[in-house]
């Protein structure tokens, strides 16, 4: 897997990460599950699953094709092997592909989505539809690339899923009429869309911490089951194109079909950002590894904001900077880059709305964590604690005055009192 690892690249001044030129980030299972759940809430389970599967197919097709070229995997069996190794290495579980150019079957074990859904929600609710659309899309993409099939010519359906209390996950793949591939979103098209670089408060400190975290993540890979357990969460190396395509397809659908619900959809995608910051950033901040590298949180709100920006950069979310901070009053986060806006510009062009819901929710959550968590008392980041922090009246609101999708040169998020 060192061969794949060697194909990582970074735009250092922008803190955006790529694998064989395809943008990737790290997200935890809490975020992944909430994100997918929101897609299904918006579209219904059937259409939601379809949109998620297609988005995964599109994103991973780009990656598997690029890797196959770079690593000279020329035959179907080489490409399929590369794909299955990649899937596990990225922390998505284990996928066994029994396919040919007409389709076939895939068997999944310890799939990131289904497995973590069962761990998190399985005792509380029953699920009626499968959870592993990403694995389905991946299997379809791998089959298309392996046999040099046109884009969209393999359809994959999850027929059994452990989240449905089946014994294992199984997918059926079949040949269908191809659909045109969407516009590629890779480093070569993203880089020109990024704004001029700038710094913010505590820039040197943030950079040093982010570099340390990024260096650590280079050594992180799926275990023998293809899962990555780190910082108390299941981490996945994932393609931002998947997140973006699903989010924006949903938002556009809602804006067309149910415009009065557009605010609600955006609120839930912001909520997903809050979930990410609380669970991923929070668990990193309280980990022994963080204590060794940076020191355990002292309780200073400014320190939490600095550390959070560093974590964001380390995870590939972009060059988050603290432009302005007045304790309890205002927090202005600016970034020349994030993983949402360039995708939107590339696929859809300009918009009259700001489009960075994940970043908005994250910034709000950073302010809540900075001011409402007693870090020095070693808090337990449980679901009940999350609910107590984010339920009811939060004394701040978040808005996005600047967004590259509207032609601005940067993203600006302002968190201020209600």
């Amino acid at each position: 897997m060192e061969r794949i690892n060697a194909l990582r690249s970074l735009i250092p001044s922008q803190d955006l990460t790529f694998l064989a030129g395809v943008p990737y980030v790290y997200h935890c299972h809490h975020y992944n599950l909430f994100h997918d759940q929101t897609i299904d809430d918006a579209l219904g389970e059937e259409l939601g699953t379809k949109v998620r599967t297609i988005a995964a197919r599109n994103a991973f097709r780009e990656l598997i094709a690029a890797l196959s070229t770079e690593l000279r995997a020329d035959t179907p069996v080489e490409r399929l092997q590369l794909a299955t190794d990649l899937f596990s290495w990225m922390g998505h579980g284990t996928l066994k592909l029994s396919v040919d150019e007409t389709g076939g079957r895939a068997d999944g074990a310890f799939l990131h989505y289904g497995y973590s859904w069962r761990e998190k929600y399985g005792a509380k609710v029953k699920r009626s539809h499968p959870a592993d659309a990403v694995a389905a899309g991946f299997a379809a993409a791998a089959t298309e690339v392996a046999f040099s099939l046109p884009s969209g010519s393999i359809e994959a359906t999850e027929e059994h899923c452990i989240a449905l209390r089946d014994a294992a996950c199984r997918f059926a793949l079949r040949r269908v009429n191809p659909t045109p591939a969407p516009r590629e979103v890779n480093r070569s098209v993203v880089e020109p869309l990024l704004g001029p670089v700038f710094g913010g408060m505590e820039e040197e400190k943030i950079t040093a911490i982010a570099d340390g975290l990024r260096g650590f993540l280079r050594g992180v890979a799926g275990d023998e089951r293809g899962l990555v357990q780190a910082f108390g969460v299941f981490v996945s190396m994932h393609l931002s194109n998947y997140y973006n395509e699903t989010v924006f397809e949903v938002i556009h659908h809602i804006e067309r079909e149910q415009p009065r619900s557009a605010d609600v959809a955006e609120a839930l995608f912001r909520e997903a950002g809050q979930v990410c910051v609380f669970h991923t950033f929070g668990n990193i901040l309280l980990s022994p590894e963080w204590e060794g590298m940076v020191g355990s949180p002292s309780g200073s709100p400014a320190e939490i904001l600095v550390n959070s920006c560093a974590i964001a950069r380390g995870l590939g979310f972009g060059h988050w900077t603290i432009h302005e901070y007045a304790p309890e009053r205002q927090f202005v986060l600016r970034t020349p880059s994030n993983y949402e806006a360039p995708f939107y510009l590339r696929r859809y062009g300009r918009s009259d709305k700001a489009r960075c819901c994940f970043l908005q929710g994250s910034a709000l959550a950073m302010m809540v964590l900075a001011h409402r968590v007693k870090w020095a008392e070693n808090p337990r980041l449980t679901q009940d604690f999350y609910i107590s922090l984010f339920r009811g009246r939060i004394p701040w609101r978040v808005r996005q005055p600047l967004c590259p999708t509207r032609g601005d040169s940067m993203t600006e998020i302002v968190v201020s009192p209600v």
Partner: protein, 117 residues
């Protein structure tokens, strides 16, 4: 040394304790390697050791914090017991009582390890 629960999103997977003042984490890591714990990737400033079963011990030399992470495949009812077994191994390492520790290690114990009352 006292084993306590740490924060974790899955029940009973993450535990912590504090090493005695003066503990030498490099020596401790060497002793734990004789108990089957091998070094794994970590952030600068900490040492992560992983057993063949996938359980981890994280040592923070600067603050002498130690974390214990039980592998996620451990059945929930067994997690506490597993954490305690890992903790016992850690304590034995601190005391220089892991099998294979040479006489030099035993002499080192009296100077470098002081257990809290």
């Amino acid at each position: 040394m006292e084993l306590t629960r740490d924060i974790a999103c899955f029940r009973s997977l993450t535990w912590r304790c504090d090493l005695p003042p003066g503990s030498d984490c490099d020596v401790l890591a060497q002793r734990l390697s004789r108990a089957g714990y091998q070094r794994a990737p970590s952030l600068p400033g900490s040492v992560v050791l992983r057993s063949a079963e996938g359980h981890e011990i994280v040592l923070v030399p600067r603050t002498l914090r130690a974390g214990i992470r039980v592998h996620y495949m451990t059945e929930e009812p067994a997690r506490r017991f597993t954490a305690e077994r890992v903790f016992v191994t850690l304590v034995k390492g601190v005391l220089g009582r892991i099998l294979g520790s040479g006489p030099g290690d035993q002499q080192g114990v009296a100077r470098s390890v002081r257990l809290p009352h």
